[in-house]
Symmetry: C2
């Protein structure tokens, strides 16, 4: 097992001639190669870092194509990077080489209101796009927790989800077309501005969630919706876990599904309880939900009434409803309080975004409780109930080697259990470096070989983000 | 250009030993090899036919795996077949070999009500599944015109759409996991019963719409919804095409999108006009829509009221609304009358299911009118407005060689224009044999080579449905 360390950093100490060629292509101001500059591009939201040999800032597909062709010539790895906010190491230059930063490719290229599509460059921040669309009356649903700083390019690479997925699906459900530069430096267009498209294999979907290993995106066309006019929230908690679970299942069967169904298990309720004080809501019990409905004011009021009626049938210990912005802020703050409240448990967090079939959530939560007891380490769980996506936080003291070792073993046990329950190793963060050693829990050699051969179809020289997934 | 003909039938006159091995594996009653038996498996909804050398009827994944391994040993093509109702030749044994019929693998394996998934064998008829689910209060939206006889396996292979796509999306939006036998006879499982899943490339989506060229499905897990309680329909027609077009665009911007938005252009209105008589509806004008809303009775009434108000702003010449089953039947009969009404124009139909960005529909319809005039052949158009999917029917007299030649040229012009308008060669029927020679209109050699290499990853010996797509 054992995570990859900086010792495994395999940089080939990039040929100075390649740096010169980059400078000739892009100008000196769009090429970084000094150690202190490179440092900023060596890490992400994992606790790992790998130094690149150069960072380049292209402005368009043609430049990216030329960059890749130079990398082919010098046999140098090339890794795309948005904001570097990923949790699986997707943007880390594991084997050194060139990091392609998309910070200068962050434009909205076209808002096509008649067809309801928006075309953007990959470097645009998800939140900036959301805000722009919202001002025009439109809505792009995928909302990873990082939406205020993660890029759409990164979101596509990792097929990001978020709370809205329960009603609106994940990133893949919004990608209509991609312009991609493959590992041979070729520029290809996948898809079209049509919902229906069956002409050759669905490369658009193949690239989505491919964790930056098949090519670099230069243009992304997203499907958009009209903006919902209103929303309301419910915070509800239960002492009896099964009651909470059955209540949530009942909400998911409704035609007017919640637009958010976030849960906190006993461990995260306990974590937040002392940390977060509020006059209007109570953080208590063994299972807590935040439920949202969106739509027209009338629809929302009707749905919320229906949700409330259902929830009350399951004997909640606390239930609070509001459509007022100030109350909604308090409710969401309770959810946001989880992350900072974890600090008291340790300074090293092993974060796993497993997904299990919804009816396996109670079983998985029991297993997590047992695992926490077994290894005597805090494991705090919350997540997106509606898609079985549990954020499992194993909290460790990074200076306690024994504890860190136990944490790694717990991670293995948890991923093994996830697979046994028919779940997925990652719901929305990806495999990257963090879980590649666990792929064999789910997939045999033959399957992994098929994946490798697919990569070869796009990247025969294996220069695009090498060392990830497999 | 010229379509492929039976002359190109490349059967390798199957080794009798292979037939014997099939019989030993499956028993004589599940192997066909007599010409009169094979004939029934030689054609589909295209006007082409290719004779297989044998037809086999497996019962499970293990048998399919053994069949594929025998085909590898004898280097014999193997082609999956559901109901043979495809419009692109996907189930035709172009190069002879073995047809794997899924008629004996048509069971519902599991209805998972808590997680809202259903797992089926590929041979189940879409309509049978719909009916089964409906009885239990569930809903599987994809509704190709062939739903009463096409199989779910075929629907997945071609990523079938249908009228419901405007609100509910197409087949790919409902596939959670597939069990597949690859071209090496290996059984793999893709996906899981979770909405979120980022662990390795998305093979589930890669197989969906791959036209039976990457493997044979043995198990399909589909996401299901709760059944809408009610629906109502509007039939509305316009003299001014732009008014009709703008009215439809306005409906698509609503949050409560229509659950169906079918259109008939002038050519199909003219075709149906004399053919279809009704006391309650009028088939007239230059642009006609059938609009549906589904949901709770209350939601439907509200939406229909809103649609009606919007439509009336665009000066329709006829508008009829009803929630009554008997009226809805009359309205849908008008739509269904198109196909039989076409017979008067010719006995050979070249059917194209192009998809263009919605705002290009008026331009495409003008072009189709010009093309019809230019070649002096009837071209009748209708389709699914909400996803730009136009069913273009070039009507020919099959004994008039000159006319057939002009029809083929018209098809080329139309597909070329589709690509120019940023559209897709096929919205829901696939490329198969019918359009493979047109792929170059949209894709370069490099792109096509990538597709071929992806196929190689699953089927290195090229025995799975060879000769399709490329």
């Amino acid at each position: 097992m054992g995570a990859l360390t900086a010792v495994e950093y395999l940089s080939n100490y990039m040929d100075k001639k390649l740096i010169n060629e980059f400078e000739m292509l892009l100008g000196k101001d769009r090429v970084l190669s000094e150690t202190e500059e490179l440092l900023c591009y060596s890490y992400d939201a994992t606790s790992k870092d790998f130094m690149p040999d150069a960072v380049v800032f292209p402005l368009n597909a043609e430049e990216i194509s030329k960059i890749v062709k130079l990398c082919l010539k010098y046999n140098t790895p090339v890794v795309g990077r948005g904001s570097g906010s990923g949790f699986s190491g997707g943007s880390l230059p594991l084997k050194g080489g060139v990091v392609v930063s998309f910070t200068k490719m962050n434009r909205i290229l076209e808002l096509d209101e008649e067809n309801m599509f928006v075309t953007v460059e990959p470097g645009i921040i998800n939140g900036d796009l959301k805000y722009y669309l919202s001002e025009k009356g439109y809505f792009y649903p995928p909302d990873p927790a990082s939406y205020e700083f993660s890029t759409i390019g990164g979101n596509v690479a990792e097929c990001s989800g978020g709370p809205a997925a329960v009603k609106y699906g994940v990133t893949k459900d919004y990608i209509a077309a991609l312009e991609v530069i493959t590992g041979e430096g070729e520029i290809i267009d996948t898809g079209s501005k049509t919902v229906k498209n069956v002409s050759g294999y669905n490369l658009t979907q193949l690239f989505t969630g491919s964790e930056g290993t098949l090519g670099l995106f230069s243009k992304i066309t997203l499907k958009i919706l009209s903006k919902p006019e209103a929303n309301s929230l419910i915070l509800v908690s239960f002492d009896d876990i099964n009651n909470g679970f059955n209540a949530a299942i009942s909400l998911l069967k409704l035609r007017n599904r919640p637009s958010m169904l976030e849960f906190m298990d006993k461990s995260s309720i306990e974590s937040v309880k002392g940390y977060f004080k509020s006059d209007i809501i109570k953080i208590d019990g063994n299972f807590l939900f935040i439920v949202e409905s969106d739509g027209s004011r009338e629809e929302v009021d009707k749905s919320i009434g229906e949700y409330e009626k259902i929830l009350k049938e399951f004997s909640p210990i606390f239930l609070f409803v509001s459509g007022k912005d100030e109350d909604k802020k308090v409710i969401m703050d309770a959810r946001k309080a989880i992350s900072p409240s974890l600090r008291k448990y340790g300074d090293l967090k092993i974060n796993n975004d497993i997904a299990v079939p919804i009816n396996k959530i109670p079983g998985m939560l029991s297993f997590l409780e047992e695992t926490s007891r077994k290894y005597d380490i805090p494991i705090i769980n919350f997540g997106h109930f509606g898609d079985g996506n549990i954020h499992v936080n194993i909290m460790l003291d990074k200076n306690n080697a024994e504890m860190v070792r136990k944490g790694e073993t717990a991670k293995y046990d948890i991923l093994k259990k996830t697979v046994e329950l028919g779940g997925s190793l990652s719901g929305e963060h990806g495999i990257g470096l963090e879980k590649k050693e666990f792929m064999k829990l789910k997939y045999g050699d033959y399957y992994m070989n098929v994946l490798k051969n697919i990569k070869k179809a796009f990247d025969p020289q294996n220069i695009i983000n090498p060392g990830k997934i497999f």
